[in-house]
């Protein structure tokens, strides 16, 4: 006899369960957690370098940085005196909640004001995985073109903040900022959009303000 049984279960239920547990831990410890996502080469590591340099004295930060291979990013980021751990996924194209949980071992979250998670460079897969973060932040660099939000709507839809990076290249590449903003808005009307450059420091004050207002709120 055949029968259709309603299941109504999220496919990523197991990841979701772990992510909720992480979110509770972060909330209890008062740690702000941001998950940085972009295509490879959009400037996630460079942004983190400048951010760690600009963090006010007394703010305790840590970084989990994901890559398919190498610990090159961790080496770059370790220079700033904050704890940094590399998550080498060995082929997997995204970070999941289990990887975050495992790599937090031994860190006292109560002593951390902010945890930066640098996801694997990829605009598709990381959007499906909740890491217990407070906000997904998507980076779109000027040379990539203004159509990215339309081509990869999922991650732009799920991000609280959209950072348009490499603003210093605007005079040199055909990138219409107005169209980029319009495209982003069409996918996500609520996200904040900031224009930044780690070469000229344009917009970094707004970015640091975005972070610090949430750190103090946490």
């Amino acid at each position: 006899m055949n029968s259709v049984v309603p299941v109504e279960t999220k496919v990523l239920n197991e990841n979701q369960r772990l992510a909720m547990a992480l979110r509770e831990r972060f909330a209890r410890a008062g740690t702000l957690v941001v998950n940085l996502i972009s295509s490879p080469g959009s400037g996630k590591t460079r942004l983190l370098e400048r951010t760690l340099e600009l963090l006010p004295d007394g703010v305790h930060a840590a970084v989990l940085t994901g890559d398919i291979q190498t610990d090159a990013d961790a080496s770059r980021l370790a220079r700033f005196g904050f704890p940094v751990r590399q998550i080498t996924t060995g082929g997997t194209c995204h970070l999941d909640a289990k990887m975050i949980d495992r790599h937090l071992e031994g860190w006292d979250l109560d002593e951390l004001d902010i945890l930066f998670i640098e996801n694997v460079g990829n605009l598709v897969c990381p959007s499906s995985y909740d890491l217990g973060e407070h906000a997904k932040i998507v980076l779109l660099s000027v040379p990539e073109g203004e159509e990215k939000p339309l081509k990869y709507p999922s991650i732009f839809f799920k991000s609280k903040l959209i950072l348009i990076t490499k603003a210093d290249l605007l005079p040199y590449v055909p990138f219409d900022l107005g169209v980029a903003r319009k495209n982003a808005r069409s996918v996500n009307a609520d996200a904040e959009i900031l224009l930044v450059s780690c070469q000229t420091d344009e917009g970094l004050g707004d970015w640091m303000q975005w972070l610090s207002s949430r750190i103090s709120a946490g």
Binding site: E8, L12, V124, S128, S154
Partner: protein
Amino acid sequence: MHEIGIAASVLDIVRKEVGARPGARALVVGLRIGDLAGVDPESLRFGFDALVKDSDLEPLQLEVEYLAARDDLDVAWIELEEP
């Protein structure tokens, strides 16, 4: 290409449901996928077929309901053959 991992999670859910019903066999699993879920249905189908082949669940079929402007990624139902 995280669709293989997603297909594996779908099969885990099917095994759990079938395991709870002695003698039952799953014929079709129905998914609900929003176009904002970041999942490509064709890649998912490829991964699903590859994982089902020669497994305990063969010849399980996949049916996908694709929804616009949503981010669902759910196993909605399973069609079972029960004794």
